[in-house]
Symmetry: C2
Subunit: 456 residues, 2 copies
C-alpha cells in the first residue's frame, strides 16, 4: 500500500491541472492514467482535429479569396505526412507533459485504477496490482465516444472519432451521424480532403447546442463546400455491408459510403471505475454526481467530463484547479464556472460564451438580441470570407451570451468572455480602446447595435 | 456664417467618432473633410494595407504548412483585381460612412477648413468659401507621410505610402526607407508578390518602437521570406535616376530598385490649418499641443494624430469619444488612454499593449520579464508556423506590457489588453476559463512563466 496526500485518476486536462496545482502547493500526488498522458483531448480529441483543420486552413483562405476573384491557387494536403506529424506531436507532447509532472514530484502510474474502498484505489498495471491510499481522491477519468445499439462502431467501415482519426487513408466518402462539434469538424476536414460527406443530425438543426441562426449560417457554409446535411432525421441502423458503410434512416432511406463516423455524443468512463466503492453516486447516464463544491463524496472530487457538467477540456482544467485549491485550503466558495466559452473549428467557425436566446426563452424569459454582420469588419473583408455575424443575447439589460459564426471567429471567444465577465455594456465599452483594424472590433459593434425583443 | 454647436475638422476615425457621439448627444455638428471620408486610415493607411495582406495570407499559411511538409500548393494574386476590389471597398465604405453621418443629422462639408479667429472656421470648398462658427471646435486633421530633404518622393520612382498603394503594377524590386509598421507591412506584401525588397532602418532595429527581442524574431521571419533588412543604417539621398530608384546610404553604398518607398514617419496636417488663429499652440514638429483634457485652447480640442500622442486610428477614436463626452458634459476627468494596443500585420505579426522592457529600463526602472514560445500552443502548431513568443513585462509585480511576435498574434491584442487592464496576474488568472485549444492560451502561459529580472 502506497500512501499519498492525493490520488488523481485520469491524466487528461483535468487530472494534469489538478496534479500541477497540488504538487506546486506541496502535496504528495499520485496520478494514474490507463491509456495515454494528455487524455482524450491530446490523443484523440481537440488537438488532432485542430491539426487536421490547420492543414486545410490554407485551402479555406484560398477559397475565400477565390470567391472575390483576387487569388488563384491550389493546396494539396499530404495525408500521410499530416498523420505522421500529428502522431509525432501527440507523442512528444504526452512525453513532455509526463516529464514535467515528474519534475514537479508527481508520482505517475500507468494502468487502470478503480475504487476498492473509501480512500483506496487499486491499480492494475503491466507489472501487477498495487494499492494506493490517500486522504483525497480526484476522479478525472473523462468520457469516451458513445454509441447506441444498431449504431455501434464495428471496427470495419463504421468508426467512432478515435477510429476515424487513425485511418491510413482519407475516405472518398463519409457518412457522419451526429452534427455536434466532433461531427462538424471531422466532416469539414474530410470534405476539404475531397471526400463526399453526408451529415445526419436528429435534432432540428446541426450544432444542436448552438443558436439556431448561428447553426443556419454554418449550414450554408458547409453546403457551399459540398457537405450534405440532413437535419431532424434519425438514424435507424448502421453497419458494414459489402465493404461499405450502410446507414438506414428512420424514414427508410439508405445511404452508403466508404466509411461512417458515429459522433452521437460521449459517455462517462465510469464503467470499470467502481466509484460506488469510494462512496460516489452515479446518475442514470453513468456520470458521477457532485455537490456545489464538486465533491462526489467525503474527500472525493469529480472534475471534467466525468461529472457531466460541461464536456470541454478547458472546463475540466478550470474545475480541477478549483478542486485542487479546495484541497489546499485556498477557497471555501462554491465552484463558479463563469461564462463558459466553446468553439467549433473549421473553415467556418462558431464561438459562444454564455447562453443562447433559445435556452433563455425556454426558461420563459424575455430576451433582447443585437447583432453585427462580419461584413462590417475590415479584417473579415481582408480575408475575403465575410459571411457570418456576431449575436449578443441580453437578459434584463445585461449580456447573457455572445455567439459568432464565420471565418476565424474562434479568435473572438476570449475577448467576448472577458467583455461579458466584466459587464462591458454600452457606456462602459468606451473605456476600452479596441485596436483598429482587428476582428475583435466586431464585438463592440454587435453590443452597441439596436436590440430586438423576443418573448417566450 | 453658419453656426453649429461643434465644428469638427477631419473626417477620419477621430472626426467621425466625435461626430457620431455628439450627434447622438443632440448637438448640431459640422464635419469638414478636405480629401476623402474615412481619412488616411480608410483611404491610404490601415485598411488598404490589411486588404493587400489578406490577399497574400493564403500564401503565408501555405508556406508554413510547406515547411512542415504537410501541404503543397501555390497561390497567385491577381494584383489588378485586388486593386479594383480595394478601391471599390474604400469607395463603398466612405460613402456608407458619410450617409450614416448624414442620417444622424451631421452636416458634412467637403473642402479645406482653417482657423480665422477663435470659434471661427473658413471653409474653401468647390463652390467658394463659407464661414462656420461654433462654441466648440475639434481638430482631427491627422497626419500625412513625412519626408526629409534628399528623401522626398518625386512622384516618379520614389513614392510615399499613398503613392505606392496606387501603383498599377507590383514593382519587381522595392527599396523601403523606414521599417516602422508601414514599411514592414508594405514590404511583406510586395515580397509576397515576388518583388525583391530591401528595407533600410536608421534605428538599431526594425520596428523601432517595439521590443528588441520581438523585432529580432520579426527580422528572422522577414529574412526567411527573402526580405533584406539593413538596420542602423542611414539613408543619405534617394531619387530617380535613369528610370530607377537610386538610394545612397551614409556609408556610401548604393542600392537601386524599380521603386522606392519613403516611410520615415508621418507629419501633422497643420501646415495650412491656421490653428494659431483659433488660439492653439503648435510644438516644434507642428503638432497641436493640448492639456490633460485634450484641450488645445478654450473650446478647442485636438484629437488623434494631430496632437502627436499616438499615431493610431484607434487612439484617435478613443480620444474623440472622450472629447465629445466632455463637450456633452458627461465627464470632467482627465483623458486616460489605458494600455494602448498596437499591431504590425503580415505573415509574421507583432502585437503590443503597454510598455516595452527597454522603455522602462531607460526610465531607470528594474523590470521582470516572463515569456512563452508559440511552439507551446497547439493552435500555433496546427498552423504550422510556430516561431515566435509572447513576452510579459512586469513593473513592481504588475503587468506593464505584453508583446507578441509570430503568425496571427494580432488576434491576441485585445485579450492581452483586457487581461492587463483588469490586473490578471497569477492568482486572479485562475478565474478565467480560457477556451482550449485557442491561441489565446499562450498569454496566461507567458504570464505564469518564471520571471527574469533586469536592471537599468
Amino acid at each position: 500500500m502506497l500512501s499519498f496526500d492525493v490520488i488523481i485518476l485520469g491524466g487528461g486536462p483535468g487530472g494534469i491541472t489538478a496534479a500541477r496545482v497540488l504538487a506546486h502547493g506541496g502535496k504528495s500526488v499520485a496520478l494514474v492514467e490507463d491509456a495515454h498522458w494528455g487524455g482524450a483531448c491530446l490523443n484523440c480529441g481537440c488537438i488532432p482535429t485542430k491539426m487536421l483543420l490547420g492543414a486545410v486552413a490554407p485551402q479555406a483562405l484560398l477559397r475565400a479569396q477565390q470567391r472575390v476573384h483576387v487569388v488563384k491557387g491550389s493546396a494539396e494536403v499530404d495525408y500521410t505526412a499530416l498523420q505522421d506529424r500529428i502522431s509525432r506531436f501527440i507523442k512528444g507532447s504526452g512525453r513532455t507533459l509526463a516529464e514535467n509532472l515528474m519534475e514537479m514530484g508527481v508520482a505517475l502510474f500507468e494502468g487502470h485504477g478503480f475504487g476498492i474502498a473509501p480512500g483506496r484505489i487499486r491499480l492494475e498495471g503491466a507489472n501487477g496490482n498495487t494499492d494506493l491510499a490517500a486522504e483525497y481522491i480526484i476522479l478525472a477519468c473523462g468520457t469516451s465516444p458513445a454509441s447506441f445499439p444498431d449504431l455501434a462502431p464495428d471496427g470495419d467501415c463504421v468508426l467512432n472519432s478515435t477510429g476515424l482519426l487513425r485511418l491510413a487513408e482519407a475516405p472518398e466518402s463519409l457518412i457522419i451521424v451526429g452534427a455536434g462539434a466532433i461531427g462538424i469538424e471531422l466532416g469539414d476536414f474530410f470534405a476539404a480532403m475531397g471526400g463526399k460527406v453526408t451529415v445526419i443530425e436528429a435534432a432540428p438543426h446541426i450544432a444542436p447546442l448552438e443558436d439556431a441562426d448561428v447553426a443556419k449560417e454554418l449550414l450554408r457554409a458547409l453546403n457551399k463546400n459540398g457537405i450534405v446535411c440532413q437535419e431532424g432525421v434519425r438514424a435507424k441502423s448502421l453497419g458494414t455491408v459489402g465493404g461499405r458503410a450502410r446507414l438506414t434512416l428512420e424514414n427508410g432511406k439508405v445511404i452508403t459510403a466508404a466509411k461512417a463516423l458515429v459522433a452521437v455524443g460521449r459517455a462517462p468512463n465510469t464503467g470499470n471505475l467502481d466509484a460506488e466503492k469510494l462512496g460516489c453516486v452515479l446518475d442514470r447516464c453513468g456520470y458521477v454526481t457532485t455537490n456545489a463544491f464538486l465533491e462526489a463524496a467525503q474527500g472525493i472530487y469529480a472534475v471534467g467530463d466525468i461529472n457531466g457538467m460541461a464536456l470541454l477540456a478547458h472546463a475540466a482544467g478550470h474545475q480541477a484547479a478549483y478542486a485542487a485549491a479546495r484541497i489546499l485550503g485556498e477557497t471555501d466558495r462554491e465552484y463558479a464556472a463563469g461564462p463558459v466559452p466553446s468553439c467549433i473549428y473549421g473553415g467556418t467557425e462558431i464561438m459562444r460564451v454564455g447562453r443562447t436566446a433559445e435556452a433563455l426563452l425556454k426558461e420563459g424569459k424575455t430576451v433582447e438580441v443585437s447583432r453585427a454582420p462580419l461584413a462590417m469588419n475590415p479584417i473579415a473583408q481582408a480575408g475575403g470570407g465575410c459571411a457570418g455575424f456576431v449575436k449578443v443575447v441580453w437578459d434584463q439589460g445585461s449580456i447573457a451570451g455572445i455567439a459568432a459564426v464565420g471565418a476565424g471567429v474562434s479568435h473572438l471567444v476570449t475577448v467576448a468572455q472577458l467583455l461579458m465577465k466584466h459587464g462591458y455594456e454600452e457606456q462602459k465599452l468606451r473605456q476600452v480602446m479596441f485596436a483598429h483594424p482587428t476582428l475583435d472590433e466586431i464585438i463592440p459593434l454587435a453590443i452597441r447595435a439596436p436590440k430586438t425583443r423576443f418573448s417566450a
